[in-house]
Structure formats: structure tokens, C-alpha cells
Symmetry: C2
Subunit: 110 residues, 2 copies
């Protein structure tokens, strides 16, 4: 599994329109081959800056299958008009991870 | 819930040492008040660039509680010597999310 990270700056004033379009576009990603998860985040410190994380089974699922699909064209048609500049895209590998289980912690604390 | 995003550039050649230190430091985060999850990712395109995502219940859990804790000092003692430059830190809000259930898909496809 790899994660696509796209850093996207939105034209000031178009944040709400972009978020509404991205909520529709989410299903274009989730319906694509190899797509596991989609998350769009907004920066608290820089409110016109968004980061989209898409989990793919392989980098080819993103760069070959998705990029050459009608879903990609539709995503760009919906959201592209709100971009201030082209998204900056990278792919990430998970190196270390861990999480707490709030429910289990609550039980252990009793 | 908010996510801390720290973009960290590591001194070339020290990537493995940094990853080993971060695997130890993970438990410093997970043991801190309000910490939900910790993930360290490495960029495929820029292999000395890491992104650390830490989920916190509130921004204060990160910026006040953790930053003033012994755990923060220990994290920086372990990992700081490998930093090429100070980490760039932001906080993210989740705007849109969704995921596929591979198991459910497999069942549905049968």
C-alpha cells in the first residue's frame, strides 16, 4: 500500500466550493481500481491549503490506471477550476505506525 | 480530532538511523495525553523527506501539553540530531473522508 499526497492551494474565497466538489469527487477515487481510502484535510494555519491523501494498492493504480481514466478527467473538471496552482504530488511509504485504542485504555484505567 | 503534520528533511545518509530512532520515539507520542495515533512516512520521490502525522484529540494536547513535556525533549534528543533543518509543522482538519472495505468488496464480487 502506498499513499498519494497532493498538496493543493485553492483560490482564496473558493474554499467552500472546492470542498463541496471534493465531496463528490471522493467517490470517483473510491470507485477506481486499487483505491483503498480517500481523505481531504484543510490546514488550520493556512486555510487555503489542502492536503489530499489517497491510499492505493500500488503506485501504478494511481499513476497509470487512475491518471488515464475518465474518473481522473471528471475529478479535474469538478475541482480543477478552484486550484490556485497545479497540485504538488508525492507518494509516501509507511515506515512506523501505532495507535492507541481509547476503549481499551478506558477499560484498563478502571 | 486534529492531525499534526510535520515535514522533516533528514541529513542524507542518516535515514536509517532516523527511522530507528523514530520507532523508539513513537511510544513517547502514544504515551502522551490526547495522542490517538502516530505514523511516519517516507517520500518515494524525495527519500530524505519524511512526513510525520500525529493524531491528537485537541491542538492544545500537542502544542501545550506535549511541547512542554519530557516526552518532547526526549523525542528531540533521539531524532533531532538527524534533522537537516527544523521540521515544518501544521495542523490539519479532516474535511472529507471515505474508504473501501476490501473484505466486503470480495464478498460482493462473488
Amino acid at each position: 500500500m502506498i499513499k498519494e499526497l497532493a498538496e493543493i492551494d485553492i483560490k482564496p474565497g473558493q474554499e467552500q466550493a472546492f470542498e463541496a466538489a471534493a465531496a463528490i469527487a471522493r467517490d470517483l477515487f473510491l470507485g477506481s481500481k486499487g483505491c483503498i481510502a480517500f481523505r481531504l484535510h484543510r490546514s488550520i494555519e493556512q486555510p487555503s491549503r489542502y492536503r489530499m491523501f489517497v491510499e492505493w494498492e500500488t503506485i501504478e493504480d494511481h499513476m497509470i490506471e487512475f491518471r488515464n481514466s475518465d474518473a481522473f478527467l471528471e475529478w479535474r473538471r469538478l475541482c480543477g477550476p478552484h486550484f490556485q496552482s497545479p497540485p504538488r504530488v508525492e507518494h509516501l511509504l509507511i515506515i512506523v505506525e501505532g495507535h492507541n485504542e481509547p476503549a481499551a485504555d478506558s477499560i484498563a484505567a478502571e
